[in-house]
């Protein structure tokens, strides 16, 4: 009887587990920083510079879309893409098995991964904003809501990435699919390019893309622009995406294989 109840003494409280697991997942910077730098900072900045050159005479709104659209791209690469690859990798190399043999809650691992990868994506995002503002010479109007918007975008995209990562058979498949999804999400909506320059059908389809709400929320909280989608709706949709994706990841991450 002592032994069967002993497992509870060998289980740390949720918050202690979460702290350790965040630190473990943050240690991924050791292998991911080069990729993060390239896709999370260099690619968005190059895109900002190139598109900014073409859109120099198109007005401040077009430049605002370029800045915030590339911030969304930075977040997509830093959270969605990277978390998808990470979950697939964890499964492929047996790291999920390792976690499954520790007395930890699955939810602690999921939340820790999401928080850690959001934190790892933030430096690239901040640098994309800083350098992008300088390149495009845009006046910032930072709203305090940005402190809610960025974590909400990042964590909801992490949740979506985790779901993709756990749904694919191999890490190679995940890389291809997540990159494709990233470009589709950025392209199919007023993310980098204003809505009035896109075909009308894109305007309708764009309501299905989380990148649309992310870009809308960033435009409103970074540059103070008004948008066709109110900030409250952006936050609501992103929060729903976060809840649904984390719930689905929790279901998918049944580490007792069938």
């Amino acid at each position: 009887m002592f032994l069967t109840s002993g497992y509870k003494e060998r289980t740390q409280p949720f918050w202690v587990q979460l702290g350790d697991l965040i630190l473990i997942q943050l240690a991924n910077w050791r292998w991911s920083w080069r990729g993060a730098l390239l896709t999370g900072l260099v690619a968005p900045l190059l895109s900002t510079a190139a598109l900014g050159l073409f859109a120099r005479d198109s007005g401040e709104v077009a430049l605002a879309y370029i800045l915030t659209g590339n911030m969304v791209m930075s977040l997509l690469f830093g959270t969605f893409d990277r978390v998808a690859a990470h979950f697939a990798y964890m499964r492929a190399v047996g790291r999920l098995d390792f976690f499954a043999t520790l007395p930890i809650y699955r939810s602690a691992l999921i939340v820790a991964t999401v928080i850690a990868f959001l934190a790892l994506a933030l430096p690239s995002l901040i640098l994309t904003l800083a350098f992008g503002t300088l390149i495009l010479d845009l006046p910032l109007a930072i709203s305090p809501w940005l402190l809610v918007v960025v974590p909400l975008i990042g964590t909801s995209l992490c949740g979506l990435g985790a779901l993709i990562g756990l749904s694919m058979e191999t890490p190679e498949n995940v890389g291809n699919v997540s990159s494709l999804i990233t470009f589709v999400l950025v392209g199919l909506g007023p993310v980098i390019i204003p809505l009035d320059r896109l075909p009308p059908i894109i305007g309708t389809i764009s309501y299905l893309s989380p990148a649309t709400y992310a870009a809308s929320a960033l435009r409103q909280t970074v540059l103070g622009l008004s948008d066709r989608i109110p900030l409250g709706v952006d936050l609501l949709v992103l929060a729903l995406l976060l809840i649904v994706s984390l719930w689905a990841v929790g279901r998918k991450l049944d580490w007792r294989q069938g």
Partner: protein
């Protein structure tokens, strides 16, 4: 006393397969014993221990740990069992020291005790030089030792070790067997051990199960199982180079090296043959011995000699 593990009629058929990976396995592992699981590649050993570690659901049958069915409380098995997989890089973004610390802490030790546990394990498994190195950057042998250290961190009452001595040099293999022996003797840890290294494992195994093609073909104490083979003796013969040996009728004969033969013979025939070769001096060297666990393994898994009854 309640068995540590009770495996009842466990079968696993992987999705898309028709042949079971393991089939109607039943066994009990008693508290404080070292139970060896032996068998060829693909015999179903790793599938069985993954089921026992609750990483794989059986298609049929039940497994109980200390009387409680697996899968009811998610943290029950991880709280009680340390599992060392055959492969796996585990936390390859961490250093060896960090891996040991986090594992010990997540297994319930305080931060201070987890640090002390890390130092103890680094010392115990000769991993001091690898302490601050990332796991993927250490040698295969050190990685195996680090994985073992991670598995035994915070002293779980039950250990499931799948090929713990793979990739290790002879000195470290011997040390690992000593560690396994000490964990069992000093702490009373129940250990389920999967290995190919039959000869070395014989030093520590107290009870053994042999698996062949997904089925458990024999379970018992090595001494009791070997008793049925002791009607037979093993005879190793070394012939001079260039000799074409004429071998007597045997239960089994294998050339294990150039001019070096291993025969399994009935006791009387073996003794008579030894007397004959001593007289005729055709053989350069010979060694006569009773059956080893390896002979038992070959007999049971390869049907090379009479099979003892399943205990």
């Amino acid at each position: 006393m309640t068995a540590v593990y009770e495996v009842s009629n466990v079968t696993k058929i992987y999705p898309g397969q028709t042949v079971p990976a393991n089939d109607a396995i039943s066994l009990a592992v008693e508290p404080g014993e070292i139970f060896g699981l032996l068998g060829d590649n693909g015999a179903g050993k790793s599938t069985l221990v993954r089921q026992m570690a609750n990483l794989l659901a059986p298609t049929r049958g039940t497994i109980r740990l200390f009387g409680q069915p697996l899968g009811l409380a998610p943290l029950y098995v991880p709280g009680m069992v340390g599992y060392m997989p055959q492969n796996g890089m585990a936390l390859n973004n961490l250093t060896v020291g960090e891996t040991l610390y986090f594992t010990a802490h997540l297994r319930g030790l305080s931060r201070r005790d987890a640090k002390a546990e890390r130092e103890r394990l680094l010392d115990l498994l000769d991993l001091g030089p690898a302490r601050d190195r990332l796991v993927p950057r250490i040698s295969g042998g050190q990685r195996r030792l680090a994985l073992l250290a991670t598995t035994i961190a915070a002293s779980p009452p039950v250990l499931v070790l799948d090929e713990p001595t793979n990739d290790l040099d002879p000195v470290h293999r011997r040390h690992v067997w000593d560690v396994v022996h000490d964990l069992n003797h000093a702490r009373g840890t129940t250990i389920i051990l999967v290995t190919h290294n039959v000869i070395e494992a014989e030093r520590v195994i107290q009870r053994v199960g042999f698996m062949r093609a997904g089925r458990l073909v024999a379970v018992g104490r090595p001494g009791a199982l070997k008793a049925s083979l002791n009607e037979h003796l093993r005879l190793e013969l070394t012939f001079p180079p260039g000799t074409d040996p004429t071998l007597p009728p045997t239960v089994e004969a294998r050339e294990i090296g150039p001019g070096h033969w291993l025969l399994v013979m009935e006791r009387a025939a073996a003794l008579a043959y030894v007397a004959q070769i001593e007289t005729e001096r055709q053989v350069e060297d010979f060694r006569l011995s009773t059956a080893t666990l390896e002979d038992l393994y070959l007999a049971l898994v390869h049907n090379a000699a009479p099979v003892p009854e399943v205990a």
